[in-house]
Symmetry: C2
Subunit: 349 residues, 2 copies
């Protein structure tokens, strides 16, 4: 029953030409007369021929796949709503191209580098996305060494040899701070992300800048690993402060939700006693109570554009970096006027 998949030789024989010519016709190369090309493509269609991926890979040294290496501990991976959406965006750009996405989830830096080496050495992918950029990121050197095309997610500071696709998140943080300031808050804290990750660091420094611009003290900052657990701990520490903040800007939604939980557990009313902002605009953030004021970007779009950029880079050897629309503040119910008494929560205005 299992009839063999037709090969290029079958097509060539049926069309009465050499297999080289079939290859030319398939790849739109010159040297084939229009009629012959048409006939070959017809025959190919009739036979249901699809060129073998392995054979093409072997002779062209191309895998027709892109790689995404995510470095997250298994316990934490689910907390990050970014990747599934990003991947969905990547896919939407890939399927039309007949390319596939090879995904790796690795626990630590060593495995991460080894994975890039294996992907490149096995010629498993034609290019990779570089996520979670870090300061002094070793991966730039390794990728350059491997000659593996890559597109960075976010702007790799101090490098202009790699195209990137960036969402300006500084603007979002700044507008959150401005929003809170306009509501009368002056003690505003920031539960930051991992300072070793560029986007964590960038959000932090834009918080810093926005606070200074408003003439406020930007020193109430706690670093985290972006996990809900860290977000809860940071919130406790901030609220234990003798002079606690009236507003907290979180570097992502899960931490903000965890912070909200901590505040509520302590009997604080949000936003009457404490205002809270998240980051990412995850689905769930609109359904907690009170609905989270958050900073939304569009990770699906991000993935789509990043994929297109990477394909462009692989195809033509270079690609323009892209700056996506900045993350914008989505004001919902978790932010409100600062308590008139900027001190503890029992007060009224």
């Amino acid at each position: 029953m299992a009839i063999r998949k037709p090969t290029i030789t079958d097509v060539a024989r049926t069309a009465g030409v050499s297999k080289g010519l079939v290859s030319f016709a398939l790849n739109d190369k010159p040297g084939v007369s229009p009629e012959t090309r048409k006939r070959i493509l017809e025959v190919a269609g009739d036979l249901g021929w699809r060129p073998s991926l392995s054979a093409r890979s072997l002779s062209t040294r191309t895998s027709f796949a892109l790689g995404l290496v995510i470095r997250r501990k298994a316990e934490v991976i689910s907390a990050d709503p970014f990747f599934p959406a990003f991947i969905a965006g990547v896919e939407s750009a890939l399927t039309e191209e007949g390319r596939a996405l090879v995904l790796s989830v690795v626990p630590d830096a060593e495995a991460e580098l080894r994975t890039y080496r294996t992907l490149a050495g096995d010629n498993r992918v034609d290019g990779v996305f570089l996520t979670d950029l870090r300061e002094n990121d070793e991966r730039f050197a390794v990728l350059a060494d491997l000659g593996l095309p890559a597109v960075a997610l976010g702007h790799p500071t101090g490098r202009d040899d790699m195209p990137f696709v960036q969402v300006d998140d500084t603007h979002g943080i700044a507008s959150a701070v401005e929003h809170l300031v306009s509501l009368g808050h002056s003690r505003i804290a920031h539960v930051a992300g991992d300072p070793m990750m560029m986007h964590g660091g960038r959000r932090r420094s834009s918080f810093d800048e926005a606070m200074r611009e408003a003439g406020l003290d930007p020193s109430l900052v706690i670093d985290t690993d972006f996990s809900a657990s860290n977000g809860a701990d940071a919130t406790k520490r901030l609220l234990d402060n003798s002079h606690p903040p009236t507003a907290i800007v979180y570097a992502n939604d899960p931490m903000a939700i965890a912070g909200l939980g901590v505040a509520q557990q302590r009997g604080l009313r949000v936003p009457a006693d404490l205002s809270i902002t998240g980051f990412d605009g995850t689905d769930i953030s609109g359904y907690v109570f009170p609905a989270l004021t958050t900073i939304t970007s569009d990770p699906v779009e991000w993935g789509m554009v990043a994929a297109r950029t990477l394909l462009e880079l692989i195809g033509s050897g270079s690609a323009e970096s892209v700056e996506l629309p900045p993350a914008s503040l989505l004001i919902r119910a978790s932010t409100g006027p600062a308590p008139s008494d900027s001190g503890h929560h029992a007060a009224h205005r």
Copy 2:
């Protein structure tokens, strides 16, 4: 600078043997004397030779990759905490094997089937995971037709030709119901998942069964698509009821969190007025207020075992199905004694 990667021919020449013999030595085939085998492997090591994946793929028709096709609309994908964790588990079993994971996210059924066909036709993967089993699932026929080995996640009812890896979640739902009953609840509702998905349907029918066993009315069920938005809507409908439930069992955590938000927005106290249980034991569920009583499984373990089973199936042509430890109830703060008045929270009987 870019020195060519050594090929099997280089190894053969350096070791002074034919390349066929190198292949034998590499693959532990008989017909190579122990000393020669040792020498060949030494030379291979010295040269840093790694057999070309494309070449092997071409001659063995093996891709050394597994496929995972996820059918989710882009808007919803982030809401599901299952996949990232599952994938992390799969990866942990794959890396040791030098295999890769090819991931596809597709929006609808048509694209889903097309993707399986492409993966098989391109010989892109050696086998696939079958997730989100549905009633009358067309994929079984397609996969059989394609001859693509597959492992099902969850027990495909009425099929014994495909190995599966299952977590008994009926037990979890049942214990949630029992827990609520023991707290004195009698009007218990279920915000179910997609009834077309087997795990949605199964959770629903085990809810049904557990309720009947307790002598309670199991008719308070609302179907959803597992999204937070659906969870919120379902909760509103349930609470708008003239005789609303005192406890709601949700089919996943995001919906439970959304339901919690709705309840709080209406001024209901959880768990004093309304008890809530989730499903999945996501990270964030422990940090909302009140912390969610939920049913935990171990998706990372699930992924690991599923990957091993699929590898076994591909390698030996058959594999034993695996039953993982049942999902278990994690009692936290969102469940409590039923209000003495079983009617509306302001009312008296």
